[in-house]
């Protein structure tokens, strides 16, 4: 039995088994319930909320022999400098139950006004964008229905709130495999690398015409959480979406399928945010892409599959997270390679590129809240193995060492230092070319203030 089929059967079987259980309340780590529902009998008609994240980042990478830079050596999402201040996120939203006597329907809406990847493309800033707008219908016990644009059920890193994220930048796996960049309508040649002078004169190393997906999709999701007793909850979600991120588009006529299951042990008795969660997820869909450099518009459907599993433990003063991700198809190779070529030389046959490659990634994160203080120490190791088995296979690994000072429950300062190692690992001409740029990828320092309301 295939891995996907086994996952689906397990999910369906388990879901029916627990349907008789009483619907439970959300634990601190149950993002499906926390983001998709409101507390019964205690929700506001309108709750305004949001957050600001302002940061400074400095990249210590060196230019290649020609004095030029690739995206990994520049600060995103603008990708035109190696240091700078930015407003990474400025999000404001409303959520609640429009008619508070009837808890059957709740809504969730969020706008992004910061300098985020969700509102930047090759044409610059798109201004304020809607990243979430959904309504949840809570009429069927065990099968709540959420419709609209929202975070799809998936990886812990993508599903959790940005305010709760313990690091400033994503893991390499999340960035390359999950934070989706969508193919341009036509074949677009690689751009860059660019020298500092070229960047200063307006050369744009992001050649994608669309924004990143932001771990979101538009569609319909059926989900719920069940109280299994002894503080254990089981949550599930099944979603059908356009597969187009925050763009309201389904040009390929295909739908993405998302499955998610998690078991959470509520440890609230030891602290309000404490819990233990085991989770697994699967996504499959298709994307239209033109990967042949032949001046002919010949977009073709490619499979895009992602799956993962992991565990998260939070019981202050300790925190630990592990997640393993596999990817098949549509492997992002960098914002300078919109038609999914890792090497500068395009392959007319459309092979040997990320569109039909495989990849995997994992990360291990640990945190220690120093007792009696507002300080927290964090460390994370993550690794991405992309284009597995190809002659341009590459591995990006990263240590992120960090500290957070929690000013109050709604505000914190985060400092990160990333130690990065980027390698093209195959012994091929493609890797010789790639390593000419990748070997210069250096460490990065980031300092960020988060203020939520």
């Amino acid at each position: 039995m295939g891995e996907k089929k086994l996952f689906k059967r397990t999910l369906v079987g388990t879901t029916f088994t627990v349907c008789l259980a009483v619907a439970g309340t959300a634990s601190a780590l149950d993002w499906l319930m926390l983001q998709g529902t409101e507390p019964d009998g205690a929700s506001a008609p309108v709750k305004v909320w949001g957050f600001i994240q302002a940061n400074y980042q400095k990249d210590y990478s060196t230019a290649n022999a020609g004095g030029a830079y690739v995206p990994a050596k520049l600060i995103g999402p603008n990708l035109n400098a190696q240091s700078g201040f930015t407003l990474a996120h400025a999000q404001v939203g409303v959520r609640g139950t429009g008619f508070p006597l009837d808890e059957h329907i709740n809504y969730f809406m969020l706008l992004e006004a910061g300098n985020a990847a969700t509102n930047r493309s090759s044409s610059g800033s798109n201004g304020v964008v809607v990243t979430d707008a959904s309504a949840t219908l809570n009429y069927i016990k065990g099968a709540r229905v959420r419709v609209g644009l929202f975070k799809y059920p998936g990886s812990e890193e993508g599903l959790q709130s940005l305010v709760k994220t313990d690091y400033i930048n994503f893991t390499e796996g999340a960035n390359f495999l999950l934070l989706e960049r969508f193919p341009n309508a036509t074949y677009t040649a690689n751009v860059g690398p660019f020298t500092q002078a070229q960047l200063q004169n307006g050369s744009n190393i992001n050649a994608f015409t669309g924004t990143v997906g932001g771990f979101r999709d538009t569609g319909v999701q059926v989900f719920d959480s069940f109280d299994l007793g002894k503080d254990w909850n089981l949550s599930y979600a099944a979603m059908l979406g356009n597969g187009s991120g925050i763009e309201f588009d389904n040009v390929d006529g295909q739908y993405d399928q998302y499955l998610y299951i998690s078991a959470e042990k509520n440890l609230a008795s030891t602290g309000p945010a404490n819990g233990l969660k085991f989770f697994a997820w699967n996504q499959s869909g298709q994307r239209l892409a033109d990967v042949t450099n032949d001046t002919v518009a010949n977009r073709k459907l490619y499979d895009r599959k992602r799956s993962g599993l992991g565990v998260k433990y939070m019981a202050k003063p300790y925190r630990a997270t592990f997640e393993y991700i596999t990817a098949d198809g549509m492997i992002f190779e960098g914002p300078d390679k919109p038609s999914y070529y890792f090497a500068n030389t395009a392959n007319p046959a459309g092979t040997n590129n990320g569109a039909d490659a495989k990849a995997n990634a994992w990360y291990l994160d640990g945190g220690w809240y120093i007792p009696g203080t507002k300080w927290e120490l964090d460390a994370r190791y993550d690794i991405l193995d992309a284009n597995t088995g190809r002659n341009d296979e590459h591995k990006f690994s990263k240590w992120t060492l960090g500290t957070q000072y929690n000013i109050n429950p709604m505000a914190k300062v985060t400092a990160n230092y990333e130690i990065r190692t980027y390698d093209c690992t195959a012994s091929s001409p493609q890797c010789t070319n790639a390593d000419a740029n990748l070997k210069g990828v250096g460490n990065k320092f980031s300092l960020q203030v988060t203020a939520a309301f």
Partner: protein, 145 residues
Amino acid sequence: MLKNIRSIFCAIGFFIMSSTALAADASFADYKYVLHISDMDPSKQGLILNNAVNLLEAYPPGAVEIEIVAYGPGLRLMFAQNVNAKRVDSLSQSGVKFSACGNTLKAMTTQLGYEPKLNPVAQVVPGGIVRIGELVKQGYIYVKP
């Protein structure tokens, strides 16, 4: 003679009934609080329950009597599915009384098209505001957090 006997029985019966009724209202508690909730703001639900817990903890067992009266949007605290239902049950077991406004219940039933299901520990009183008045007249300390 028969008339006199009947009168005596009636008097005894009246005395017994009055005593029973008096006993229901009478309390030997040193302190009596009526906590009032009528707000839409969900944070008030947690606050009023915290108030009740703090009062129970502040006095020796039996020294304080607490009644929470809800009307208007505040009645949602006493909905059966309320997220705080377990805390309401726990407080009820500790002796806290919960009174739900009948007028509000009628109005909500009209709006919803069905009667909202209340937590079984909630006693429906004809009017929440009237109940508060009665309790204050009986010497209860009125608090609206």
